[in-house]
């Protein structure tokens, strides 16, 4: 077993664009849950909306990258409004049910064979990054060092991914130190109290839902840039990965989702490498290599349970502010 290779892989994933995409999606549910108290269990739906809006406008409508990018944003705003208008007047738990169901609806719609001309059906979409890469101003060559070495194309995705994460982080930081953030956090605590103080609670919840949804959608775009669009990627597991990341870092923290995403992916790749390596080296004999790939998700679930029980505020969270039960 080549431990250096495993370590190299694990460190490399810490800064990969995929990690950035998950961080961005987690920043989105951070706005929803951590600050506004909205239980969005459909972040995968927002990511799918972003990915498909980008892919379809590029391939079917022939939009250049900036327009396709904008389409992803608009599509997620529309999706958030459709979700929010009927449900935000109801109690928080209803939103949870509606979001998880609508994310599944989105996934079933895009994988329908009837729509395969547009969505590619079950096989998804690919080869849509041409316009994006055509915009790449970087001279050819390799970038970075050590585990973080990227080709010109990879580095272009890297810059966009982490650039968007940086922008989203700054926006969240600016908003949450402002009176807007105060109102939103107040709604998380008790929306009737905030209503009695003359704030339009419904409008604030909608704004938070849209903002977090847009981050989710952009995460969807970043997620697909280095790969193809696969409808199976947008199952509920994706949502629960982003939740794990959020809770790992701390739900109402600015840097929590970023660090959470890095730790999550490094651990995932590390455990896969170590367990898989041990199986291949016949040190662990009672499971197959396929099972080794799955067992890390069992460990992940266990880790999430332990986290919520023993450190609900996450790594960065303030225990007083962020414990689950107040």
């Amino acid at each position: 077993m080549d431990f250096l290779f495993v370590l190299n892989n694990a460190l490399g994933v810490a800064l990969s664009p995929t990690t950035a995409a998950y961080a961005l999606a987690a920043i989105g549910i951070g706005v929803h849950f951590g600050y506004a108290g909205l239980l969005n269990f459909g972040q995968a739906g927002f990511m799918a909306i972003g990915a498909y809006a980008f892919g379809i406008t590029t391939l079917t409508l022939g939009f250049p990258f900036p327009l396709a990018f904008l389409s992803a944003v608009v599509a997620s705003v529309v999706f958030a409004l459709i979700l929010g208008i009927p449900t935000l007047r109801l109690r928080a738990d209803y939103l949870a049910i509606v979001t998880i169901a609508s994310a599944e609806i989105v996934r079933y719609i895009v994988s329908t064979t009837g729509l395969s001309d547009v969505t590619g059906g079950a096989s998804g979409l690919s080869a849509f990054a041409g316009s994006f890469q055509a915009m790449n101003p970087l001279p050819s060559g390799s970038y970075g060092f050590g585990p973080w070495t990227y080709s010109r194309a990879e580095f272009w995705v890297f810059l966009w991914g982490w650039g968007l994460v940086a922008i989203a982080t700054v926006v969240v930081w600016l908003l949450m130190r402002s009176p807007w953030g105060r109102v939103v956090k107040g709604i998380r605590e008790d929306e009737d109290a905030v209503r009695s103080l003359g704030k339009n609670v419904y409008a604030y919840k909608m704004q938070a839902l849209v903002l977090g949804g847009v981050f989710g959608s952009l995460a969807g775009v970043i997620f697909i840039l280095p790969r193809a669009i696969q409808p199976t990627n947008y199952a509920t597991t994706l949502t629960f990965f982003t939740w794990t990341i959020l809770l790992l870092g701390g739900a109402a923290t600015v840097f929590g989702p970023i660090i959470g995403s890095m730790i999550f992916w490094v651990l995932l790749v590390l455990t896969e490498g170590v367990i898989g390596g041990l199986v291949r080296a016949d040190i662990i004999t009672f499971i197959s290599t396929t099972q080794a790939g799955q067992i890390r998700f069992v460990l992940l679930g266990l880790a999430l349970i332990l986290l919520v029980v023993f450190r609900p505020q996450g790594i960065f969270g303030n225990k007083k502010e962020l414990s689950f039960n107040v």
């Binding site: 402002s178 009176p179 807007w180 209503r195 103080l197």
Partner: protein, 305 residues
């Protein structure tokens, strides 16, 4: 039974009685009905709340006081009826707009925002903060000056309510009584014209009761109108200028606190229910004894009938 005599009062136009017209009303409600299934919780034909005074809304449990409160403040919608605040119709106006028009309420079960600091709770009560707009919020210079103004006001109020030492603490760490104080102080941030307090004394220890009473009186001195729901008769007699009595969803009596408890309808409403007579209060013992005698006399006369 005594023969009907026409009673008048400086706050009232014409004779005193349920639904009587006030000289200067701030809230007027007409035909407000709220049904829950087949049960009519509130059926108020006409009631007016005087401006610049402390008005108590009393009545036995289940009289519909809190439901009526919710209806007036837009937290619940009536099946029928109109009501106005300062001459503006409030039918179908959402709760947050009612608050913006200057009618701010508190809740029977305190709603302090636990994971916000005491100061943040206070600042949330302020109005006209441009930083509460999602776009303006991004640019601190646009809301910084207003933030300083409202922080000054919040600090003044916190000092007045003796919560200034708790300024940076999470509201969740306050005691029940302190949360009541915080909720009242927070409601005052917007300088409302009418403060509606839903059982401000519930669960507050006697030491804090005195200071709460003082704060409510101060409100009146500042020109704010107060309408409060309360079970504590000691408090009602002590501070209110006017008392409205509800029973089974209706306004059954109105009058100044000194005489309203003698009203036949009130005694009927409370009869058999030994409502919160404040037996432990030494200062009040005399008047309690007096009232008990009066109630006994009435009961005796009823029995004779």
């Amino acid at each position: 039974m005594s023969e009907p005599t026409v009673v008048t009062h400086p706050l009232v136009v014409g004779p005193v009685g349920p639904g009587c017209k006030k000289v200067d009303p701030i809230v007027i409600a007409d035909g407000v009905v709220r049904r829950f299934g087949g049960n009519t919780a509130v059926h108020v034909d006409h009631v007016e709340v005087p401006r610049g005074k402390i008005t108590a809304l009393i009545g036995p449990n289940g009289a519909g006081k809190t439901t009526f409160f919710n209806l007036l403040t837009g937290f619940d919608k009536p099946n029928e009826g109109d009501w106005s605040f300062n001459g503006q119709n409030l039918g179908n106006v959402p709760a947050f707009k009612v608050a913006r028009r200057g009618m701010v309420r508190t809740f029977q079960l305190t709603k302090s925002l636990g994971r916000l600091t005491v100061l943040q709770n206070m600042l949330l009560g302020a109005t006209k903060q441009p930083g509460e707009n999602v776009f303006t919020a991004l640019f601190k210079p646009l809301w910084k000056s207003r933030e300083e103004e409202i922080t000054t006001r919040a600090d003044d109020l916190l000092a007045r309510f003796k919560l200034d030492a708790k300024r940076e603490d999470y509201a969740a760490s306050l005691s029940g009584g302190q949360r009541k104080l915080l909720e009242m102080a927070r409601a005052l941030m917007s300088e409302p014209e009418l403060v509606m307090l839903d059982e401000p004394m519930a669960g507050v220890n006697p030491a804090l009761t005195q200071s709460l009473l003082g704060h409510i009186k101060e409100l009146k001195n500042d020109g704010t109108s107060v309408l409060f729901v309360e079970h504590d008769m000691h408090m009602v007699r002590h501070i209110s200028d006017w008392v409205i009595v509800m029973a089974e969803g209706k306004v059954v009596a109105e009058g100044p606190p000194e005489t309203v408890m003698d009203d036949q309808a009130v005694i009927d409403a409370y009869l058999g229910a030994h409502h919160d007579t404040d037996l432990g209060d030494m200062i009040e013992q005399k008047s309690v004894a007096e009232r008990a005698r009066r109630v006994e006399a009435k009961e005796a006369s009823l029995a004779d009938d």
